[in-house]
Amino acid sequence: MTDRTLTRALLALYTAFVFLFIFAPIIASFVFSFNSDRFPTIPLGSFTTHWYEKAFGGDAIWPAAQTSLLVSVCTAVLATFIGFSAAYTDYRYDFFGKKAFLVLALLPPTIPLIIFALATLGWLSMFNASGMVISVIIAHTVLCSPFAMAVIRLRLNQMDPNLESAAWNLGASEWVTMKSVIIPFTKPSIIAALCLTAAVSFDEFAVAWFVSGLNKTVPVVILEILTGNVDPQINAIGSAVLVISITLVVIAQLFMMRLQPKKQEAA
């Protein structure tokens, strides 16, 4: 028995070490953002908000923040709409070529971003449509809609398939059924999808870097600072971005968790 507890303890220790590896950079960037040294080491320097003042006092970051906000909001709405319609198609219909439809719907995240970035740059340039804010929105919507689809599809799985037919029997048209049965039922997953896709878009840098031209987003600005010098401003910007992303993800998670008890209710 002691042998067993020892194995368990070793495994627990190892798992803790792996989590430390995963979270070390996240914690470090947060700590360094308040640290006075330009090249942080141990022992740490003194506490400062200098990097935050430098990052957010200048005027490089604010246009980028505006662009990022615009891009992620538009992307979230478009990707969630496309994801919803694709998820509903998969839930409701069976048709020739459905497998191909699903592959197309879920494929984008498996293509390396740098390749998709190059392809999109070439394609949009042909129509003189690269280097604009809308170019980034278009490309991000392609990348994000599979996530929205997955989240909404999971929710549709929990729906009683008879609900829809019941609504039709009671004389509701397809559109009324959609509006007063399906959309209310999937609402939590729609909100979750909006938050998740906004967070993904807000962090994406490779495609944004290639197609944004002069309309840089926040991650593109980070990439450019990173290419320059060691500059702890990145930690300050990164920590602020982290807070925004985590807030979005936690909201999404809360809405996802509200799905669980309802499932038991239905069962």
Binding site: L11, A12, Y14, T15, V18, F19, I22, F23, A24, P25, I26, A28, S29, F32, F39, P40, T41, I42, L78, G83, S85, A86, T89, Y93, F101, L104, A105, T110, P112, I114, I115, F116, L118, A119, T120, L121, G122, W123, L124, I138, T141, V142, S145, A199, V200, D203, F205, F210, P219, I222, L226, V230, I234, G238, V241, L242, S245, I246, L248, V249
Partner: protein, 270 residues
């Protein structure tokens, strides 16, 4: 009608760009402007350069190494989360593992730069123990750290799911039949979770193969990988057609690896 939004959008902005990239690889560049053409020039020029092939082999090697390292590093942790903790702990662990996906990868790589630097945090810690300093930045080790940062959370999540789905009675049966604990792992547990473990590994390979941040900012681009080559030829050289050749070669490689691995994962399963 509901299938149309996805078909139109992904057709126009996903299939369209990828198809155009194939066409673009036959275009010519004159005076920094791309001209439609059908010439093999870009393919010939790329495939006859030694530095392309050395970059290809290096990228393949690094991505494979990252896949093996990540898979092996993740497995004990996934094993622990799948079999040795209760449902609540597992759920919280998985929740925490999702967080990295929504923190900027760039910021995490920058943090590693500072941690791994010659005068960085890690070397300071080694110094306290009277060791080092070690050169970790701008080495292959640095690149692998970056790839692991990218892949490890996903690998643990996927592995934990596939391990937790195993019917534990089969493992108990093996124990009852006198099977040792380590033998139970490689003779019962790993084969049962094979599909999920391979899918996790394939994702690691895809992510590392295409990533340009880790090899550039932690590996010092010595030597460059294919993804860095795409950036160099397209961003500074305006040679989009040649970058397209590299990109298509990468996609073909990824498809080959992915299909071979998935085929292997589903083989011998009824």
């Amino acid at each position: 009608m509901w299938r149309l939004p996805m078909l139109i959008w992904q057709g126009l902005f996903f299939i369209g760009p990828l198809a155009f990239m194939i066409a673009m690889s036959f275009f010519l560049v004159k005076n920094y402007r791309m001209e439609p053409a059908f010439q093999m020039q870009n393919w010939v020029k790329t495939f006859t350069r030694d530095y392309f092939w050395s970059a290809y082999v290096f990228t393949l090697w690094m991505a494979s190494l990252a896949t093996v390292v990540t898979t092996l590093a993740a497995f004990p942790a996934s094993f622990f989360l799948a079999f040795k903790v209760n449902e609540t702990v597992r759920r919280w662990a998985l929740f925490f593992l999702i967080i990295p996906f929504f923190t900027s990868y760039l910021v995490r790589i920058f943090a590693w730069q500072v941690i791994l630097a010659q005068q960085g945090v890690l070397n300071a810690l080694f110094g306290l123990a009277g060791l080092g300093p070690y050169t970790m930045l701008n080495t292959q080790f640095g690149t692998i750290v970056g790839y692991a940062t990218l892949c490890l959370p996903l690998a643990i999540i996927l592995q934990t799911f596939s391990l937790a789905n195993i019917d534990t009675r089969l493992v108990e049966a093996a124990h009852n039949l006198g099977c040792g604990r380590f033998r139970a792992i490689y003779a019962v547990i790993v084969p049962l979770a094979k599909t999920g473990l391979i899918v996790a590994a394939v994702f690691c390979f895809i992510l590392s193969f295409g990533d340009f941040v880790a090899p550039y900012y932690l590996g010092g681009s010595k030597p460059p990988t294919l993804s860095i080559m795409i950036i160099d030829t397209s961003k500074s050289g305006q040679q989009w057609p040649r970058a397209a050749v590299v990109a298509i070669t990468m996609i073909v490689t990824l498809l080959t690896v992915a299909f071979a691995a998935i085929g292997y994962a589903y083989r011998k399963r009824r």
